[in-house]
Assembly symmetry: none
Homo-oligomer: 202 residues x 4
């Protein structure tokens, strides 16, 4: 009885993000979101039109966050190789620090991507726009392999980064170790960088 008034909308968004990430659009329950947000269920319909609109808002917020976080990463940072490393690093650590993003995007992909398409983002439609540009530039400058298949490489980079976080629960069991422990994160990042660089460089 008396939550800070101004924050209800934000509280709902935060709770929704958590639960949609954990259970997907269909697995999530409106009641659970409302109760986790500490607001009345009706508020949810007051601020957002429907469960699906709330879900879309969560996607949108996440896309904006990752764009903001990664778009500046490699700006003017030396040669393409350094830029590539920097860009993958910032993408990977964004995912590490925003563990819900990878799950949200994976649910969404399995469910057909119909909601994400509404909030159309370069990340979603183009893959990783900044990395794409770096690869093109490096190839043009003769630093990267001339026969580098950029489309395939982008697909691979994206899979390698995202999958690690969506599968971390399973890896935790198999490895009997915590995949998101700092050392494990760093080891994984180095492995991905090595995989990519060995393929990209001449």
């Amino acid at each position: 009885m008396a939550h800070p008034v101004v924050q209800s909308r934000e509280r709902i968004l935060a709770a929704a993000e958590e639960i949609f990430a954990a259970k997907g659009l269909h697995g999530a329950r409106v009641d659970e979101i409302a109760s986790k947000a500490g607001v009345n269920k009706g508020m949810l319909y007051h601020y957002f039109h429907s469960k699906e609109d709330l879900y879309t808002a969560v996607l949108k917020a996440n896309f904006e966050k990752i764009l903001a976080a990664t778009s500046q990463a490699a700006k003017g940072k030396g040669d393409p190789q350094e830029q590539l490393v920097e860009a993958i690093k910032s993408y990977f650590y964004f995912l590490a620090e925003n563990p819900r993003f990878a799950r949200l995007i994976s649910w969404e992909a399995l469910e057909g991507g119909i909601y994400a398409r509404k909030v159309l983002s370069p990340i979603w439609e183009e893959g990783l726009p900044q990395i794409k540009k770096i690869l093109e530039e490096g190839k043009a400058k003769g630093i990267f392999r001339p026969d580098l298949d950029i489309r395939q490489m982008l697909t691979s980079i994206s899979s390698l980064c995202i999958s690690y976080f969506t599968q971390k629960d399973l890896l935790a069991i198999i490895w009997e170790d915590d995949p998101v422990r700092p050392e494990n994160l760093e080891r994984r990042l180095q492995h991905i960088l090595e995989l990519v660089l060995r393929n990209v460089l001449l």
Copy 2:
């Protein structure tokens, strides 16, 4: 109108596989499965105890299928490098020919893997056991890099292959091309092999 009695169980399993793959455990509807199987809903509970048991049966059948399909792949086929190529190839094409498998496994991973663990399979818990063995052997024989991180590499191979099929709908849009067209499949496979071999070989 009257379906051959003996096949009901199989029909249910097949329908369930299709719908669970398309919509996941929570998105699938028991009614839809029954009607797609052309049987009465009660039959579903006659043969399987519950929706979740049916789902588990689908997972089990799929694991058995992939094990049968891939375990023989690289048996006695020359050196580790050739074996590795052969093993990845057979895994990749198994996924291409069984498009539901990748989706099932991805839903399951997002949902926490609790059902897959019941039908405990080496594939699931260990990753790709045959490939693991090949990597170990190649490393022991000095053909693969001595500092090869097998755990990381297995994780990568698995991600690279599976993601391609779970994301094919999105790739189709971005690429404006069909990712599972034979030429595109082959191109993807070659890219993955290159990525892996450049990293594995000395």
Copy 3:
């Protein structure tokens, strides 16, 4: 726990008719209909698609009933005047014996008639088709007034009959008498007939 199986659909229709007549489409509650029918709420959605489809089914059944009841009334019954009397009588007494019909049709009219139009019936679209024919014939034969406005007269006959039954609760209070007591019914019918005949005849 154990209603006669075969009758559920009919029980639902009957309960729905009663409650829709009493409260209109929007005032009626699905729960109330189900509980009055003595069936589970889900059955209602099993047999009918939605509340609105159930309502439409009730309208349809009622239109069919009144058509069956009135269409034969004045067949081959002497001259137009006698036929007219007979037709109005049978319409009036149909309404008296089916008290829900007038209410259903009145709710529907106020709510815009959108559902009735789906089950399109001559009664609804044309007014009173049989009476219309009688009026036209009598006019053609020179028995009824040559300047008789058939459209107006049909509108009046319909109003005079139906209104009596939709307003009976109010009349009961004002009159301090029961408007549907046999003598009152007959008195009303005679009044309507007189009103009509004095206007129709030369």
Copy 4:
């Protein structure tokens, strides 16, 4: 953006009248009324206690309006026949010019008349008091039929006038013409007058 303060109450009443007339007490939404009135929902509860009290106020205002409009109509206007014509005319045109009144009263009648009874008006309880008096006088003076059934005649006059306006949407469809076009209004009025006079006069 800021509405003149003093008028809020009136604005609410006007909006409520429109929406209650269109959708009835149960079909109307408090939110819709408030937004149509351009005021905050709370205001509605400030001026009126509840949705039902607001509805009652709308009924009351309408009854007062019709009383004011019709009570003077036939005052000292010649013989009973002329007075009757005058009274029906003014009633009919009041309804034509206040199209919500007929609908309000019809919803209310179907819903049992419980709210109208609270604002107890002679119109409602007695039918048409002025017309009643005229009929009685005409009968007493020997100008109207000695066996005229005043109760029936009042019921008929009321039905004939009101029904026309509550059914105008349906008539518009059947006739493929606008029932409230001036000529159609006049034609209807003449028909009603003829119907009544032929029955009332000797």
